[in-house]
């Protein structure tokens, strides 16, 4: 009986803990938004963070986008030519990149490249008591440290996802048209026929914006909330990457089911 009570108590404690953390994360988001105005008054801080999370992620995003596009071109051609419709290759590459792969893969890469760095930085600041020191000097650490990193991620992510998609389409074109020899005209015209600006491009952009917000919030929150020890920081970084990936994939399913329902 007491063993059962122990198991139940453990389960209850875990649920209470996770709900408490979720609530803390939401309150933390509101605090970040509240002090954003204060941090925007010192715009160079945010620009610096756009450099660190956006510009420095450019290489991995562009190279991965190119390779994803190349693979899509090869696999798409292999399948489509069985149905004698290899000219639809452009449509397939563009739609799969714009709707799903662009935002999702760019989000995953962004979480592991930029999100983990942000968590590590904030976690280390907390461990070395820099955040407390700022508080002592009447500098709000949320306005000075957290909000610029959050906004840097939110601004960078949609731009990175757009570049990822553009690069992927270029990769698909490279394989399909240049290497395999699909007709250039039908590649582009079928793509333009099938891709709708409002339906595909804007929805993909909204997705990447949502993922950027989620990843940035997770990264700054895990950094701020970490145990101030070396081990705590490393666990916070792991949690950032794992929960970002899960949140991106789960949100992607939810957003897709709202955005693309056939009609």
């Amino acid at each position: 009986m007491s063993a059962l009570a122990g198991v139940l108590r453990k389960l209850g404690a875990r649920v209470v803990d996770s709900v408490w953390r979720l609530g803390f994360a939401v309150r933390f988001l509101f605090a970040v938004l509240r002090y954003s105005g204060q941090s925007f008054q010192r715009l160079p801080l945010t620009i610096r963070e756009i450099y660190f999370s956006g510009v420095l992620s450019l290489l991995i995003i562009l190279v991965s986008g190119l390779f994803i596009g190349l693979v899509l071109g090869l696999q798409g051609y292999d399948i489509l030519q069985r149905f004698g419709s290899s000219s639809a290759l452009g449509t397939m590459v563009a739609l799969s990149l714009l709707r799903e792969l662009g935002p999702v893969v760019a989000g995953l890469l962004f979480a592991s490249r930029a999100g983990s760095a942000v968590t590590a930085e904030i976690g280390l600041m907390k461990t070395t008591e820099q955040l407390q020191a700022m508080d002592m000097m009447a500098v709000n650490p949320i306005a000075r440290v957290i909000a610029p990193r959050f906004w840097g991620g939110v601004i960078s992510m949609p731009l990175l996802a757009a570049m990822f998609s553009a690069m992927g389409i270029f990769g698909g074109w490279l394989i399909g048209v240049v290497v395999i020899g699909v007709d250039n005209g039908s590649f582009w015209s079928q793509m333009q026929d099938a891709v709708d600006f409002r339906y595909d491009i804007v929805n993909g952009f909204i997705k990447s914006f949502v993922f950027g917000t989620a990843v940035s919030l997770i990264a700054v929150f895990e950094g701020y909330d970490c145990q101030p020890t070396a081990e705590g920081v490393s666990r916070a970084i792991t949690r950032t990457v794992v929960s970002s990936a899960l949140v991106i994939l789960a949100l992607d399913f939810v957003l897709t089911s709202f955005m693309f329902r056939g009609l």
């Binding site: 949609p158 731009l159 757009a162 389409i169 709708d196 491009i201």
Partner: protein
Amino acid sequence: MNRTVLDLWVGVFVVLGFAALVFLAVQVGSYAELSSGKTYALEAPFDNIGGLKVKAPVKSAGVLVGRVTAVRFDSKTYRAVVSLELDVRYEFPRDTIATILTSGLLGEQYVGLEPGGEEAVLKEGDRIAMTQSAVVLEKLIGQFMFNKAAEPSAQD
């Protein structure tokens, strides 16, 4: 990092990002198509629309002239009413025939307009009187099977 170098890189990054978006909108998407011109609405009742969908193209002589905006069922006449949106640049005679066609064997279905010879043209809100339903493959196959099945018994 030097402040001016940092600003420069962020500027390049933002420009690249927006360039990618513009590329997606203009080269990949069909942003310019039909969105510039004004349109007028028509209605066409069909006995059977097959697999026609909203946003399917409306073509005449193979050229895109408009899109399907809505499909609804008229419970009085038991027919499907398809709303079309045509570019104002294109005018069609009143006795135009609307047909539901399929592009390729397995392609998507679209509305084909065959102009008649009348002087008066269709205007906003008009109804296309003469229509031809979609060819439903199952019905065709059913008829074919029925004929095949009927043949040997006729020989007896």
